[in-house]
């Protein structure tokens, strides 16, 4: 007996929601970035599961691109963290409000 699709979806949703929670609540920017990775992984699980169940490889292609974008995003994000850390000596997002209008 195969695992139903909805289980995978629930799993993906759970991972995504945990990522959201982490992103919204943590003050450390690195953890926030990791939360984003979590969310992306959640999405990937969903994509690959769907790709499997509806027999269409394009879902995996999309996941593939997501991974590529995630890598890019991590690189840029972490570079920003370094720059920020160098200038402000902090990794705490709530201490920075340079963009206040």
């Amino acid at each position: 007996m195969a695992v139903p699709l909805s289980w995978y979806m629930l799993l993906s949703l759970a991972v995504f929601s945990i990522g959201v929670f982490g992103f919204l609540s943590r003050r450390n920017i690195i953890i926030m970035l990791m939360s984003i990775e979590l969310m992306l992984n959640g999405v990937n699980i969903n994509l690959i599961a769907l790709s499997h169940y509806i027999q269409d490889l394009r879902g995996q292609i999309l996941a593939f691109f997501v991974i590529a974008v995630a890598a890019a995003e991590a690189a840029i994000g972490l570079a920003i963290v370094i720059a920020m850390f160098r200038n402000r000596a902090t990794a705490h997002v709530d201490e920075i409000k340079e963009m206040q209008g």
Binding site: V20, F23, L24, V93, M99
Partner: protein, 694 residues
């Protein structure tokens, strides 16, 4: 009348002066310089010869109506540059080219040594071209072309001494006042096109009977169509011929050099209005109201201008008002249907008035002032000028046997014989005019040529500096301003005195001197005209054939007058007597009892002031039209509508957005988590929405 093909000499008439203009304006500064008159005079003389040839054709019963080329073509609107040469045109051609030639020659002497010599002659040539185009045109638009063209040249020539503010102002005033008249004229032309579908004279006049009695909705009013068209066209004539209420520009136009005043503001341009009315006589004839308007406007102008003339002291302004007055005579004649008489007076007037102006120019040339209070006794210094001046004055005053007598008499008789109430009214005014004309003309002559020489320019300058109250009545602030303005000497006076090297310090032993022959010979020719030009129109009563009226009859028709020979004799004797009384009174007041004028002006100081200030018409216009318009421009439009309302809205909208965004930017806290929370909230909201909606 047989039609005839356009000949080369017809075309040359206007285009010779144009050539002269082009040569002088392009080469004048470097090449022709003080030889500019060679091209100018020869071109005008050439066109005079061509005009004679043309007159020959027309006397032979030929009529020419031909287009040179199509000027404007747009849909049904088609108008050409073309010539209509009929008796009326032929008369005008002779008047224009003769006067132009003589005045060109005179100007050689008068403008001698002036820095803008070539410029002056090129403008004169351009003027001649435009005037000839005006009278030769075969459609309304070409008339309009010449009309505006002569206006432009008038602007140039009045403002010839452009360094002088008063001259520049006068030029501008002439142009703009004329534009008011042209406003009506232009609309009249539109109406003609909308009514007849063409602007070609022949086509319009052929169909003119079809509009008799028709009414048209014009700006919400139902008006009689022929009246409307005729009055609109007459607007233009009022402006150009300086009739009330647009007469104000003509006196100021005397800022121009004297040959200009003679050519443009006496002999030719100002008579264009009369020409227009005569040309459009088929339209005017359809409307009783229009005819009466023409007659009354003419008569009123004639009367009021004459009354103003008796108080003025500027020699040229007196003659200018006299011109106004005589133009009024011409309109009066047209208004009672005697177009031929009007044109006849135009023709004789051209000679004697040009002569008056040129002789006045000769005087100014000698004494360097325009103010007759500082002249006097010139008879012995300038015999030729004196002689021609008297001839011109007699002719203008209607002394029997001279040109002016015949034409004026014919007008007065026509007014009397028209037997309408309007005709009677204008007849009385015409008789009054017959009194005033010799009076002010001879007042001028007596003040200028008789008595003792009163010092010329030096005396005037001394008087001006001493602020002497030279005029009996009190000075209003304007009056004082006007004095210095009105008696401003022709600035040319200085130039010529230095240029010709004469010692002209009048009043210090050396009197003024007679002008050179180049100036006096044209005067003599004109004097012959002033005496004899009228002999072509001697009425049958005096044994003549009135050839002039018969010549023009194909164009302007002949009014039916009901009058006996006895009446005609009576009217003639009456008017002559009145004229002689006027002359005699002038002689009495200015030769015998020279203190009388002063006393009279003291006695009737209010009347004198009104007359002297020309009924305050200029002041009235300034107060009601010029100042409000400038105020409207400065205070309302620039300062309020544009700056406050429109710019207020234009700048107000961005400002509002700016204020709003100032409030809105408070939402941007700069804290990353706030944005994240909003995003998450948005996501939840959208998902919830999708679920609820599905």
């Amino acid at each position: 009348m047989a039609n005839m093909e356009l000949q080369w000499y017809h075309v040359l008439i206007p285009f010779l002066p144009l050539t002269g203009f082009i040569i002088n304006i392009l080469l004048g500064k470097e090449v022709t310089r003080y030889k500019a008159h060679w091209f100018a005079v020869s071109s005008v003389f050439g066109s005079w010869l061509c005009s004679l040839a043309t007159l020959q054709d027309v006397l032979g019963g030929k009529i020419i109506d031909a287009d040179l080329y199509t000027w404007i073509l747009s849909g049904t609107f088609k108008v050409g540059v073309g010539f209509l040469i009929d008796p009326l045109t032929a008369v005008m051609l002779i008047v224009v080219t003769t006067c132009a030639t003589l005045i060109h020659i005179y100007a050689i002497g008068y403008m001698h040594g002036d820095t803008g010599y070539y410029r002056f002659f090129s403008y004169l040539n351009l003027f001649t071209f435009c005037m000839l185009m005006l009278v030769m045109g075969n459609n309304f638009l070409q008339l309009y072309f010449g009309w505006e063209g002569v206006g432009l040249c008038s602007y140039f020539l009045i403002g010839y001494y452009f360094n002088k503010k008063s001259a520049a102002d006068a030029g501008k005033k002439a142009f703009i006042v004329n534009r008011f008249g042209d406003f009506g004229f232009g609309i009249g032309v539109f109406m003609v096109f909308l009514t007849f579908g063409t602007l070609h004279y022949a086509d319009v006049f052929a169909n003119v009977s079809s509009i008799a009695g028709k009414t048209v909705n014009f700006l919400g009013l139902n008006v009689d169509l022929p009246t409307l068209i005729a009055l609109l066209l007459f607007c233009g004539a009022v402006g150009k011929s300086a009739q009330i209420p647009l007469h104000v520009w003509l006196p100021d136009a005397m800022e121009g050099p004297t040959p200009v005043s003679a050519l443009i503001h006496a002999a030719t341009m100002v008579t264009a209005g009369v020409f227009l009315v005569a040309r459009c006589n088929p339209i005017f004839n359809l409307s009783e109201i229009a005819m009466n308007t023409v007659a009354i406007i003419g008569a009123l102008t004639m009367f009021f201008a004459a009354t103003i003339a008796i108080t003025q002291n500027d020699i040229k302004r007196i003659i200018a008002f006299s011109t106004c007055s005589h133009l009024g005579y011409m309109f009066l004649a047209c208004g009672v249907g005697a177009y031929a008489a009007g044109i006849f007076h135009l023709y004789t007037h051209a000679f004697f008035k040009a002569l008056l102006f040129l002789a006045a120019g000769s005087v100014i040339h000698a004494v360097h002032t325009n103010n007759i209070q500082f002249m006097g006794g010139l008879k012995k210094y300038m015999p030729i000028t004196y002689a021609v001046f008297v001839i011109a004055g007699l002719s203008a005053g209607g002394f029997p046997g001279l040109s002016g007598f015949f034409s004026k008499d014919e007008i007065i008789w026509s007014a009397y014989a028209s037997h309408s109430s309007v005709g009677k009214f204008v007849w009385i005014l015409a008789l009054a005019g017959a009194f005033f004309t010799p009076f002010y003309t001879f007042r001028l002559i007596f003040r200028t040529f008789f008595g003792e020489y009163r010092g010329g320019l030096e005396a005037e300058e001394a008087a001006t500096h001493a602020h002497s109250s030279s005029h009996g009545s009190g000075h209003s602030s304007h009056g004082a301003g006007h004095d210095s303005h009105g008696s401003g000497h022709d600035p040319h006076g200085h130039d010529s005195s230095h240029g010709s090297g004469h010692d002209s310090h009048g009043g210090h032993g050396h009197g003024p001197h007679e002008s050179p022959y180049i100036m006096t010979v044209p005067l003599m020719f004109l004097a012959v005209g002033a005496i004899a030009a009228g002999w072509v129109g001697i009425p049958p009563l005096l044994g003549g054939g009135n050839h002039f009226a018969h010549f023009l009859q194909p164009v302007v028709g002949h009014p039916e007058f009901h009058g006996t020979h006895a009446e005609e004799w009576g009217v003639m004797i009456l008017s002559t007597t009145i004229a002689l009384i006027g002359l005699g009174l002038a002689a009495f007041m200015y030769l015998r009892k020279t203190d009388l004028p002063e006393r009279i002006s003291k006695q009737f100081s209010l009347l004198y002031k009104i007359l002297y200030n020309k009924y305050y018409v200029d002041e009235f216009y300034n107060l009601t039209i010029v100042q409000p318009t400038l105020k409207l421009a400065n205070k309302v439009l620039v300062g309020f509508t544009d700056a406050k309302i429109i710019e207020g809205i234009v700048n107000g909208v961005p400002n509002l957005i700016g204020i709003f965004s100032q409030k809105l930017r408070r939402l941007q806290t700069g804290i990353a988590h706030h944005y994240a929370i909003f995003m998450a909230a948005g996501a939840v909201f959208i998902v919830a929405l999708v679920i609820l909606l599905s």
